[in-house]
């Protein structure tokens, strides 16, 4: 008997220790998610109680041109920013892997943007850089080129945001740096004895051994790029202007939810985004079998 109660006691204590996480999980994640799933099948304006509406929100989405426009903008952003982030992260990591003088400082400098790159302050700074009167145009002016307003011209606005995304390659770089250190020197030594040059060593030793980390970075970057919100919100002043060219999916979702009180429709948008991210990640995992090399 005594033994059992003690076990029970331990169980209770165990759950008590878990409770901060459990409460957080249910109150902040599980219940809100279930609520949003229900909202996505209802009409809900936040002021009156939600009313069940079946698949209305989802069918409406199928014929909503702005939904497709926001998808197009988001896929452009993900498709262009992620590869560039990875390439830059890898190149800089290769340069900074050797223990040279002050290499720590350089690593810190390149890592910094990914710490505050998604912040409001940097988005405002970006706006100042790419304005009609911005720093970029002033530099161009020195060469006699009259610049345009990069953030307010429909054909260029998205690229300023992509550039901002690429600038934050530091987090991936740090992962690459750590992985590079894991590659045993003996492999390189053996390859050098066999007469392999720098390029060969890069493509036949370094890159194959790095593929697990490349995979990790691709997945992480894709997910965070899909969820990118702040830069577009700040730079377009929360409108997706000009001509919806910066209307990120999350921004459209936000506008529907808090601009037009269409919480049901916004919830449906959120669930579709979840499915899209899930599908893309799933595809990455399937292809990973073909190119990710685990020794």
């Amino acid at each position: 008997m005594k033994e059992l109660t003690r076990k029970q006691k331990q169980g209770i204590i165990g759950y008590l220790f878990l409770s901060p996480w459990l409460i957080g999980f249910f109150a902040l994640t599980a219940i809100p998610m279930l609520a949003s799933l229900y909202f996505s099948f209802s009409r809900y304006d936040m002021l009156t109680p939600p009313r069940f509406a079946g698949l209305d929100n989802y069918t409406k989405m199928a014929s909503d041109p702005k939904f497709y426009k926001s998808l197009q903008v988001t896929f452009t952003y993900v498709g262009l920013s992620v590869p560039f982030v990875l390439v830059f992260a890898l190149i800089v990591a290769l340069i900074l892997q050797k223990n040279r003088r002050a290499v720590g400082i350089y690593r810190a400098i390149y890592y910094l943007p990914s710490l505050f790159g998604g912040s409001v302050a940097v988005a405002i700074l970006w706006k100042e850089l790419f304005n009609k009167e911005g720093v970029v145009n002033q530099i161009l002016g020195n060469f006699g080129v009259e610049g345009i307003s990069w953030i307010a011209t429909p054909s260029t606005a998205i690229y300023t945001l992509i550039l901002l995304g690429i600038w934050q390659f530091g987090a991936s770089m740090v992962v690459f740096l750590a992985a590079l250190k894991q590659i045993p020197m003996t492999y390189y030594e053996a390859a050098m004895i066999d007469g392999a040059g720098k390029v060969r060593r890069l493509f036949y030793i370094t890159l194959p051994l790095l593929t697990p980390m490349v995979f990790f970075n691709v997945v992480m970057q894709v997910i965070s790029a899909f969820q990118s919100f702040t830069p577009a919100y700040i730079i377009s002043n929360g409108t997706g202007a000009p001509l919806d060219s910066t209307l990120f999916y999350t921004l459209y979702l936000y506008l529907k939810a808090f601009g037009q009180f269409q919480m049901g429709y916004a919830s449906a948008l959120a669930w579709i985004l979840l499915l899209i991210i899930g599908a893309v990640t799933g595809v990455l995992f399937i292809t990973a079998k073909k190119w990710v090399f685990y020794e």
């Binding site: 009609k132 307003s149 051994l209």
Partner: protein, 467 residues
């Protein structure tokens, strides 16, 4: 290397789960919002703290706590805080908990709070949104308090009092009357050498003056642009529509304008845009719409005519040194048909609170709009005070630009009608309007095409909101 595989697997699993489950709204979104909320929360806590300490000191009298929420910038927060302090000093039995927010956050927050039936007791209200709240019975009926004199309306003109009536119920009281109109930088007009009529002009005259301005500026080699692109402002569109005898919405909540007037409006600004030098190009206009006050080309002295509510005149003047800024009415129809209607912020009381709080809230509303101690701080903050006696009282307290504004509003009030309140779903119409003018500005659609699409979207948006 097995370890690495394991490590990657675990890392991916952990991060995937946490990032997917942390919500589809995007982490950065939450961060941005929470950081904004943080600042307002700290405001609240500091004011709460100070109240708690005073609470303990005079617990003898029965205390009522009322929450008052408003929107605005830092300067306004100081002004409103001072008004709350004055009220507390004169009404020791009431504590005012202050909940300031920026314009955008304010409406997000209010919608969420109203959904949870925890709206503030007293809140800033605006004609643009009032239907959303009044239509759902979340605002208290103030008529009983006006009848028993707690809210004194004897010095407020009846048109303004009745402006607070939505769907038959008296739900709000005017904080001040203002107009969204044109402001002219007279120094630029003089330098270019263009004359303009004193108070009124027609849309045709406005275009003529604009073209004359562009020609003369070019001759003299001056780099000025005549005016803002007013097609960006739905308020200005409303003036055009009203001067044509229509309005944005009808009294029973339908679209009140037709495709013809919309096409005419877009065509009018397209002609000026194509002329060159009259209004800025599309990209610049997009930029202007997202710039803060101190960075707008008008503030920097590059554009001669801009549009904003006249109660903000002193804010621009503060940035522009001794530039001579002249408030000017919006153009009228060619036969002099007017579009003016009473505008401005209001104050309302929540319907979700008990009678004790409602009484205190009504007293606060009365203090806010009807007392010298309140108006000596507020002055022209939200426009000319609705209370005519107090409008006279504040005149000597005003600086030069505020006096200009008050003179302008007094001159224009007699010719103004009342506007029809926007129905539920109006925010979606507003969003469609933003798309529509941008399509014409960037030349992806003709005015006719854009107007046609806009009408369809606007009708669909209101139809959708009814379901």
């Amino acid at each position: 290397m097995k370890i690495i595989k394991k490590y990657v697997g675990i890392l991916l699993a952990v991060v995937l789960i946490s990032s997917l489950f942390s919500g589809c709204g995007g982490n950065s979104n939450e961060n941005a919002e929470s950081s904004q909320n943080d600042t307002s929360n700290t405001d609240n806590t500091t004011s709460n703290d100070s109240q708690n300490t005073t609470d303990e000191s005079d617990q003898a009298t029965e205390q009522v706590e009322i929450r008052f929420a408003w929107w605005g910038d830092t300067l306004r927060h100081e002004v409103y805080n001072a008004v709350c302090d004055e009220f507390e000093a004169e009404n020791p039995d009431v504590k005012v908990i202050r909940e300031p927010a920026s314009w955008g956050d304010y409406w997000d927050k209010l919608a969420t709070q109203t959904a949870g039936m925890s709206a503030p007791d007293v809140m800033g209200m605006h004609p643009q949104f009032v239907s959303d709240y009044a239509g759902r019975n979340s605002l208290a009926d103030l008529e009983p308090y006006m009848e028993n004199g707690v809210i004194d309306t004897s010095n407020i003109p009846d048109t303004i009092v009745q402006d607070g009536r939505v769907g038959g119920t008296m739900v709000m009281v005017s904080q001040g009357v203002t107009f969204t109109n044109m402001i002219i930088n007279d120094d630029i007009m003089k330098e270019v050498g263009v004359e303009y009529p004193d108070l009124d002009w027609t849309w045709s005259e406005y275009a003529e003056i604009g073209k004359e301005f562009a020609d003369k500026a070019q001759e003299k080699g001056l780099d000025y642009i005549f005016s803002d692109d007013f097609s960006s402002y739905s308020n200005s569109f409303r003036y055009m529509v009203r001067s044509d005898g229509q309005d944005l919405y009808t009294a029973d909540g339908e679209i009140g304008f037709d495709e013809q007037i919309t096409t005419k409006w877009f065509q009018y600004w397209k002609d000026l845009r194509d002329y060159g030098g009259v209004i800025p190009d599309a990209a610049t206009v997009t930029e202007i719409n997202s710039l803060p006050l101190e960075q707008k080309p008008f503030t920097l002295g590059k554009i001669a005519v801009a549009g904003f509510p006249v109660n903000q005149l002193h804010l621009y003047q503060a940035q522009m040194g001794d530039a001579n800024l002249v408030p000017h009415r919006n153009p009228t129809g060619d036969g002099g048909e007017r579009g003016e209607y009473l505008e401005g912020a209001h104050i309302a009381v929540s319907a979700f609170i008990d009678d004790k709080n409602k009484d205190a809230a009504a007293r606060f509303v009365n203090f806010f709009v009807n007392s010298e101690d309140s108006l000596k701080h507020l002055k022209m903050e939200q426009g000319v005070p609705a209370n005519e006696v107090l409008a006279e009282y504040i005149k000597p307290l005003l600086n030069e630009s505020q006096q200009k504004a008050i003179r302008y509003v007094s001159e224009t009030m007699p010719v103004a009608g009342t506007g029809v309140y926007a129905p539920v779903g109006a925010s979606a119409v507003e969003a469609a309007y933003k798309d529509a003018f941008a399509r014409v500005q960037f030349g992806v659609q003709t005015p006719e095409e854009s107007a046609e699409q806009f009408m369809q979207e606007a009708l669909a948006a209101l139809e959708d909101a009814k379901n």
